[in-house]
């Protein structure tokens, strides 16, 4: 049987301000994951961080070790690779005060 492979759009045209978290994704069937983070416009968010988180139950969260910078332009792409994540994944970000990040985040699982 061919390997399962799925792309989930976890943030589409969402306006991020301050501390944000994407909706929880249950993905225990997969063994590897990549978050791709793009911006569709908005402000240039220098020094803004984004990181993957894992959870025992979809309600309590801890950093998964994968982190990076939010892309600063529409042509940049940030990729966070995650493995050994159990059953749950989400993405968190901190957007600098007074700025807005227009997010497009996809989660690629297989």
């Amino acid at each position: 049987m061919l390997r399962e492979n799925a792309t989930l759009v976890v943030a589409r045209n969402e306006r991020w301000q301050g501390s944000v978290a994407t909706e929880p994704v249950e993905c225990g069937w997969a063994s590897e994951a990549i978050f791709f983070i793009r911006t569709l416009g908005g402000d240039r968010c220098a020094d803004a961080r984004v990181q993957a988180e894992i959870s025992p139950d979809g309600m309590h969260w801890v950093a998964a070790g994968a982190e990076g910078a939010l892309p600063k332009s529409k042509t940049e792409v940030t990729a966070l690779r995650v493995a050994h994540f159990g059953n749950w994944l989400r993405l968190t970000a901190k957007v600098p005060d007074g700025l807005e990040f227009l997010a497009l985040v996809t989660l690629h699982l297989k």
Binding site: A6, E23, V25, E26, C27, W29, D57, G58, M59
Partner: protein, 300 residues
């Protein structure tokens, strides 16, 4: 007594269906159009995205934050993995943790024979178990719809028809527990500047009517993490574009007064046969609809 080839075919088909552990819990019409067991993946159930043109800002507000489906082992903090009916995975449709948030899973097909179809599925619904209370009033509704359009040769009979049914579980802290349908027409909005795209939001709270005798108490169980599955069957005739039967577990409901959302045919939806499942939360807590499995069949 004369046994015809058709009789033999029907008997063999019925015997094979009943002997198949996955299919024998359904009563499909002769032709199975889709059988979706989510231990085999998402099976073509995807996120509903509103229509847009030029910018995603043109998506109507009701469609902007619809969550999509995912494969779930139905695992909980207190009891571990619940699993699906006959395996590990179910299709989970989760709302956001905001009152009236909705989520939709949709499967997009077309039909080749405008005749009877039957949608059968097993479903259950639960709130996110983030409180040590029963939480049975935290889910507003779960439901399903078909999005149908006649073929391109249907002439004056051309129309788009969208039968909607929901189980209105609770609102404002009150258990309502009844089936409703949504008749009427649709109000379209232009999307973008080219006149190519329109959109209408049909999942709102307005326009629902009670199915006569449609009150039904379901097995919610006694805590938020105990899950029982419910059988749903909906028969629809694509020739007359009328609903024939709604069944949930042991109850069959009177659809004599039922009607669908009806609107003029659209230029790019001929023979459309879409099936969508939806869930809505009543509180600032995520609501989850689970499916396992779904069988769509036709009589041709």
């Amino acid at each position: 007594m004369t046994v015809t080839p058709d009789d033999l075919t029907a008997a063999i088909r019925r015997g094979m269906t009943l002997a198949n552990p996955q299919l024998s819990k359904f009563d499909p019409l002769p032709r199975i159009l889709a059988f979706d067991d989510f231990d085999r993946g998402h099976c073509g159930w995807s996120q509903l995205v509103g229509n847009y043109e030029g910018s995603l800002d043109t998506i109507l507000p009701g469609y902007r934050e619809l969550n999509g489906p995912m494969l779930s082992s139905i695992s909980h903090w207190d009891g571990g993995t619940h699993g699906s009916i006959d395996g590990t995975y179910a299709l989970k449709v989760p709302t956001r943790a905001r009152r009236d948030s909705q989520a939709v899973a949709i499967k997009r097909l077309t039909f080749r024979e405008p005749g009877p179809i039957r949608l059968e599925f097993y479903m259950t619904f639960k709130p996110e178990a983030n409180e040590l209370v029963l939480s049975d009033r935290d889910i507003k509704s779960v439901g399903f719809l078909l999005d149908l359009q006649t073929g391109d040769q249907s002439g004056n009979g051309a129309e788009r028809v969208m039968p909607h049914l929901r189980y209105l579980n609770a609102r404002d802290g009150d258990l309502l527990q009844k089936w409703q349908f949504k008749p009427g027409s649709a109000s379209f909005s232009d999307i973008g500047d080219s006149s190519d795209t329109v959109s209408h939001f049909h999942l709102g709270d307005e326009g629902w009517q009670d199915v006569p005798g449609g009150g039904q108490r379901l097995c919610y169980n006694e805590i938020a993490t105990k899950v029982n599955w419910h059988y749903i069957r909906f028969d629809f005739d694509l020739a007359s574009m009328t609903a024939q039967r709604l069944q949930c577990n042991d109850r069959v409901f009177d659809l004599a007064g039922f009607d669908s959302l009806r609107m003029p045919a659209m230029k790019n939806l001929w023979c459309m046969l879409n099936v969508a499942m939806f869930v809505e939360t009543a509180t600032d807590k995520r609501a989850f609809l689970y499916l396992d499995s779904v069988c769509l069949s036709g009589d041709f």
